[in-house]
């Protein structure tokens, strides 16, 4: 599987590393040249320095044959535009976005991004699963057998 990851911050870096370990073909795109050099020392030649929302650059990445494009930068507007271009212009079958502001999940979905994932929302969901509902009966206390 060919996966393009846009944004080599912490999220993009660990994702690319794990995908490589899984045996996928990975390309990690990083805008900042200094960061891209560092990523190359860690991950090898799978890193490209460039703008993940620039069409002329994207067309040099083999995006036409990508199975997944994942936008993982810290800026929702950049993730959205990169994935809209991937989807609408290059017909990439699967697009996944990191969404920083959880309110933005809605607009990502409306505009055709396949999956929109917010860490904030996942954390909230994990918390909610631990908080009992007010209406719910409190769980029965285990009875201690008396002698």
């Amino acid at each position: 599987m060919y996966v393009i990851v846009i944004g080599g911050g912490k999220v993009g870096y660990y994702l690319a590393r794990d995908l490589l370990e899984r045996g996928d073909e990975v390309l990690l795109v990083e805008k900042d040249a200094v960061r891209a050099d560092w990523l190359t020392t860690q991950l090898g030649s799978i890193v490209m320095n460039g703008d993940g929302d620039e069409m002329s650059f994207l067309s040099t990445t083999g995006i036409e044959r990508a199975d997944f494009v994942i936008a993982a930068t810290g800026d929702d507007e950049d993730n959205l535009v990169a994935l809209q271009i991937a989807k609408k212009h290059f017909n990439v079958p699967h697009t996944i976005a990191r969404v920083n502001n959880p309110n933005n999940i809605r607009i990502f979905k409306i505009l055709g991004v396949d999956e929109a994932i917010s860490a904030t929302e996942l954390l909230l969901q994990a918390m909610e699963q631990k908080i009992p509902d007010d209406d719910e009966e409190p769980p029965e206390q285990p009875k201690i057998a008396r002698e």
């Binding site: 929302d53 620039e54 069409m55 002329s56 800026d75 929702d76 507007e77 950049d78 959205l80 535009v81 809209q84 271009i85 609408k88 212009h89 502001n101 309110n103 933005n104 809605r106 607009i107 409306i110 505009l111």
Partner: protein, 133 residues
């Protein structure tokens, strides 16, 4: 007429003042309060400090009653996202988006956004001026 403008740079400020002069209700948003200095001392519209791609912020700016929405920040992607929110979430009747990159401009024009590209307009203007001489 209710107008919401995102980005108080030179274009945003000038446009706001123009609309206010014509009697429109204008709300302008910018992340940087210092940008509002461009509006002068007696600006008769609303100036809000905040993020133009945040739904709650846009609601506070009155986007639900807006007739016109314009995004003219220095970030193409920011403008594109704000305008698509205005169009697809808030159904603002007239939405205009500034996109500096001509290639991106063409992509989003095709996707149904009303766009304006200062790069193309600027180059064409200069070219026409030289041809005329």
């Amino acid at each position: 007429m209710n107008v919401v403008i995102v980005g108080c740079g030179r274009v945003g400020a000038r446009l706001s003042l123009q609309f206010v002069r014509e009697g429109a209700d204008v709300t302008i948003i910018d992340q940087n309060a210092a940008a509002f200095a461009r509006l002068g001392n007696n600006f008769a519209g609303n100036a809000l400090v905040g993020n133009g791609i945040d739904e709650d912020m846009l609601r506070r700016a009155g986007i639900e009653e807006a007739d016109v929405f314009v995004a003219v920040t220095e970030g193409d992607n920011r403008n594109i996202m704000a305008c698509q929110m205005a169009q697809h979430i808030f159904n603002v009747p007239r939405v205009i988006c500034k996109i500096n990159d001509p290639v991106r401009n063409e992509v989003y024009m095709k996707l149904g956004l009303k766009t304006f590209c200062p790069t193309i307009v600027g180059a064409d203007t200069i070219h026409a001026m030289i041809e005329k001489d």
